[in-house]
């Protein structure tokens, strides 16, 4: 009996073993992937594949191969790509997924579907929209980092730390893709030919599963994120607060948000929904050459001025969101949850762009740095 069991066990392990083995040394890692709209409803998949050769001594050589393939679906494109590379294609360690503007404007879910289905995919990968074509971003050669994946993911992580983007990845937008009462935004990347770099250029607003084409510019992105209730490691706001000085730089103040309090008040009566958003910012002045911050009057004045300017900014941002019909804050979901009867009567897609959203930003300077 024991002998038979032993034989069975050995057979089980040795015969079926290595069944789903995936040798790490035998895969071609795809770290960056891009999708563009092709001709006749096809898509173009661009991948950058780094190949490292083992060097017995000293620096090893790394070469990056960039391939573009046109196919009907992302997986078909992957199969085509696989045919032109050595070893096998594996997106298990994908770090950046870039989607071209044109394709994003149609629908991004068709591209992402495969990523949600296959468990070996890296749902942690950064997601970004390319201004223009994704292939342009991926094949951009003049970069300081060795790999485009490192460059773009570093860029996006930096933008996330400075409160310019929310750090979305494939997993995080999943719920919002399917949820009708809530939308999302993705960071935009553009190739800056003049400065020879890839540049973060704001947040692209989405409606449902497609890109609306309306962007929050980089200058407004921090405020946009604060309104959304998101702050990275630091959040700098630079605003003009006076016209008094001849030296232009004296007219500006830069503050870093230390703490914020956000309160969204949704009122639903009959078939009208209105929202008040109150944002209280406690800030530290990090740059203000005009100084005199030791006086209470200066501080009060600055508080007031900043509150006004930022409220105006907030209004602008809300205007853009409504224009894009992008319900980033999930107001629709809240209405659906707390006022289901009102929600039933409304077509949220129609309501959101026209609803009344009143922002109020309250700034309080609490620190002014170590000089005064």
């Amino acid at each position: 009996m024991t002998k038979r069991l032993l034989i069975i066990l050995c057979a089980l392990v040795l015969l079926t073993g290595c069944w789903d083995e995936r040798q790490f040394k035998n895969v071609k890692l795809v770290l960056t992937m891009g999708f563009d709209e092709g001709e006749d409803g096809k898509i173009v998949e661009t991948v950058s594949i780094p190949t490292i050769n083992r060097a017995s001594e000293g620096q090893s050589q790394e070469r990056v191969q960039i391939l573009s393939t046109e196919a009907n679906t992302p997986l078909e494109a992957r199969d085509f790509t696989d045919q032109s590379i050595s070893e096998s294609f594996d997106p298990g360690k994908l770090r950046v997924l870039v989607i071209g503007e044109e394709l994003a404007k149609k629908n991004i879910y068709s591209v992402l579907d495969e990523f949600y289905r296959n468990p070996s995919n890296n749902l942690n990968a950064h997601l970004a929209i390319a201004k223009g074509k994704a292939s342009e971003v991926l094949s951009y050669q003049n970069i300081s980092d060795t790999r485009i994946s490192e460059y773009i993911s570093g860029l996006l992580e930096g933008a996330e730390a400075s409160s310019h983007t929310t750090g979305e990845n494939i997993q995080l937008i999943c719920a919002e893709l399917f949820e009708p009462g809530e939308d999302f935004s993705l960071p935009l990347l553009a190739v800056d030919e003049e400065k020879q770099s890839i540049k973060f250029s704001g947040m692209g607003l989405f409606h449902g599963n497609h890109y609306s084409g309306i962007d929050i510019p980089v200058g407004q992105a921090t405020m946009y994120l604060l309104l959304q209730g998101y702050k990275g490691k630091s959040a700098h706001l630079t605003k003009k607060v006076s016209d008094k000085f001849e030296d232009e730089r004296y007219n500006y103040v830069t503050v870093n948000v230390i703490k914020y309090k956000r309160k969204v008040d949704i009122k639903a009566e009959g078939d009208t929904v209105s929202t008040d958003i109150n944002l209280k910012l406690r800030v530290r002045v990090v740059e203000y050459p005009a100084d005199h911050l030791d006086k209470k009057s200066t501080i009060d004045e600055l508080d007031k001025k900043l509150s006004e300017t930022l409220t105006k900014d907030a209004e602008e941002i809300i205007g853009m969101m409504q224009e894009a019909n992008s319900d980033i804050w999930g107001i629709g979901r809240q209405v659906r949850a707390y006022h289901p009867k009102v929600y039933e009567k409304l077509d949220w897609k129609e309501t959101f762009p026209n609803m009344k959203i009143t922002p109020k930003v309250d700034v309080e300077i609490v620190q002014h740095g170590i000089i005064y």
Partner: protein, 534 residues
């Protein structure tokens, strides 16, 4: 019958020389009054061995016999000839230090022990003199169990010296020693040590019972005894602790365990032992308890590293490379790209090489052993990577595993760990993380099932006894280990009484005395500190 006899005639046996050993019926061969018959019998029994010396004394009327290879000539002279030369006695048979017997079989035993016997014609009495030569090395610290602080002596090959080392440390009448004779041909001495009143008598009985079943021509080391009496021989885990340290033996005896010693080997067996006792070292108790705990935790972590590390690496690079952090992915890929063999083979090759180096190093004399270590470790390690046979990472992993396996204070457990690596490597190479999970599960199941003399191997973790965890993962201060752990089966629980009560006393004194001094200050007008009036 015996009762009546004792009542009427007294117990004569009490007056006889004896050692307290339960011995089975001894064969008897009564001596003859004829000297020649006795000598003939003895020489025949010894097959006319050349080292049996027969010295004819008193003009052929008497004979002194001894095995010259076992006898110390000086002692012989001192015990037998000097009393006569000095005129204390006029006949060798009257020297008081002799033991007398009439049994020739006993005389044979005495001769084998290194005694000299003196037989006179016309008398059936055989006088035995203890003139054994013993060659002992000094009680040096054992090479395989060195510690930094604490006692630096170790057991040697002489069982008497070993027991002496233990008795010196436990000056207590309850320390009981039972001798056994084992090995049908070799007839070795074996001793069972325990602390009466602390050790479970059932445990002692059980071990005696098992020891009596041993029937083999030779018992030449504790390893033999271990395999005869342990509960599960088909287990990679040692179920008895091997040690050459007297302090370790003493500590275990006090905890209520039993020690088994063998003549001719410095290794002592301790039973019952649990998994955690293999991770305790005398050093732990000489350190501050924080450091002791830290070191203990490091050692237990080494178990996981030693057993699971190569398996984990193999599983990662051949099944689940998604778990490698993003920043490491390219460096890892770089090292393993272009390696011809799958990681499974790679790991096996490396682990076997490490074992080869280790094994080669042990046997060779010290200077050559070091060379082997350097050649094996540095040269082969470097060349193998450069040649592209094995990846850099695999060398790191295997080296780390080897180091981790040597962390265990017990050599037995260390070899077990290195052995357990292999099945896990296979499982990881065929089934990935699932294989490792199954492997560890099987090991765990096996360990929970294992028993060492009635004590669960994983106690006090399984079955859980929180009180006894004081000396497993952590090492609490000694005065808090006030009870003996249950896994020693001790019948007397308390081991440390309230020992730090002085602190309480001090505190209460400090609280009371200032009041007194104030009162005194009022009455006498002088201020006296708490120390002044005590």
């Amino acid at each position: 019958m015996g009762f009546m006899k004792r009542l009427f005639f007294g117990d004569h046996e009490k007056l006889k020389d004896r050692t307290i050993v339960d011995q089975a019926k001894e064969p008897e061969q009564p001596s003859s009054t004829k000297l020649a018959d006795n000598v003939d019998y003895l020489t025949n029994e010894f097959n006319r061995t050349s080292d049996l010396r027969i010295r004819i004394l008193e003009k052929g009327q008497a004979a002194l016999m001894y095995l010259e290879t076992l006898v110390d000539q000086e002692k012989l002279h001192e015990a037998i000839f000097s009393p006569i030369e000095l005129g204390h006695v006029d006949d060798i048979s009257k020297i008081p230090s002799s033991r007398v017997t009439k049994n020739l079989e006993e005389a044979i035993k005495a001769l084998l022990k290194g005694h000299a016997i003196y037989i006179q014609d016309g008398s059936r009495h055989i006088s035995q003199f203890n003139v054994t030569a013993s060659f002992n090395r000094s009680t040096e610290e054992p090479q395989n169990e060195k510690i930094v602080r604490g006692s630096h002596d170790g057991f040697i090959e002489n069982i008497m010296v070993n027991i002496n080392l233990v008795r010196k440390r436990i000056e207590n009448r309850d320390l009981t020693i039972k001798y056994f004779k084992v090995g049908k041909k070799t007839n070795n001495n074996m001793a069972l040590l325990y602390l009466d009143g602390v050790t479970d008598p059932e445990l002692v009985q059980e071990i005696e019972h098992r020891l009596k079943y041993i029937s083999a021509d030779m018992i030449h080391s504790p390893g033999y005894v271990e395999e005869f009496i342990e509960d599960q021989t088909f287990s990679p885990f040692p179920q008895m602790l091997n040690t050459e340290r007297p302090d370790r033996v003493v500590a275990n005896l006090i905890e209520g365990r039993v020690a088994i010693m063998n003549e001719g080997s410095p290794t002592t067996l301790i039973a019952p032992s649990t998994f955690f006792s293999f991770y305790q070292s005398s050093d732990d108790y000489n350190m501050r308890w924080f450091t002791g705990t830290f070191v203990r935790l490091i050692r237990l972590a080494s178990f996981i590293i030693a057993v699971g590390m190569p398996a984990f690496y193999i599983a990662v690079v051949s099944f689940h490379f998604e778990v490698i952090p993003d920043e490491l992915i390219m460096p890892v890929k770089q090292t393993i790209n272009g390696i011809a063999y799958p990681p499974l083979i790679e790991a096996l090759v490396m682990v076997v090489i490490i074992e080869l180096i280790r094994e080669a190093g042990i046997r060779l004399p010290q200077p050559i052993g070091q060379t082997i270590g350097i050649v094996g470790g540095l040269v082969i390690g470097d060349a193998v990577v450069k040649a592209g046979l094995v990846s850099n990472l695999m060398v790191i992993v295997v080296a780390l595993t080897a180091i981790a396996s040597f962390v265990v204070p017990s050599n037995e457990m260390s070899t077990t760990l290195r052995l357990l690596t292999f099945p896990l490597i296979f499982l990881a190479g065929t089934l990935g993380f699932i294989g490792i999970t199954f492997g560890f599960m099987m090991i765990l199941i096996h360990m929970t099932r294992l028993e060492s003399f009635g004590v669960p191997y994983l106690s006090p973790v399984a079955p859980l006894r929180i009180k006894d965890l004081k000396d497993t993962f952590i090492r609490v201060p000694i005065y808090l280990m006030n009870e003996r752990p249950k896994d020693s089966r001790a019948i007397q629980p308390g081991v440390v009484g309230p020992s730090r009560e002085w602190k309480e006393v001090e505190r209460s004194n400090n609280q009371q005395q200032p009041k007194q001094s104030i009162e005194e200050g009022k009455s006498t007008g002088s201020e006296s500190g708490p120390n002044a009036d005590s």
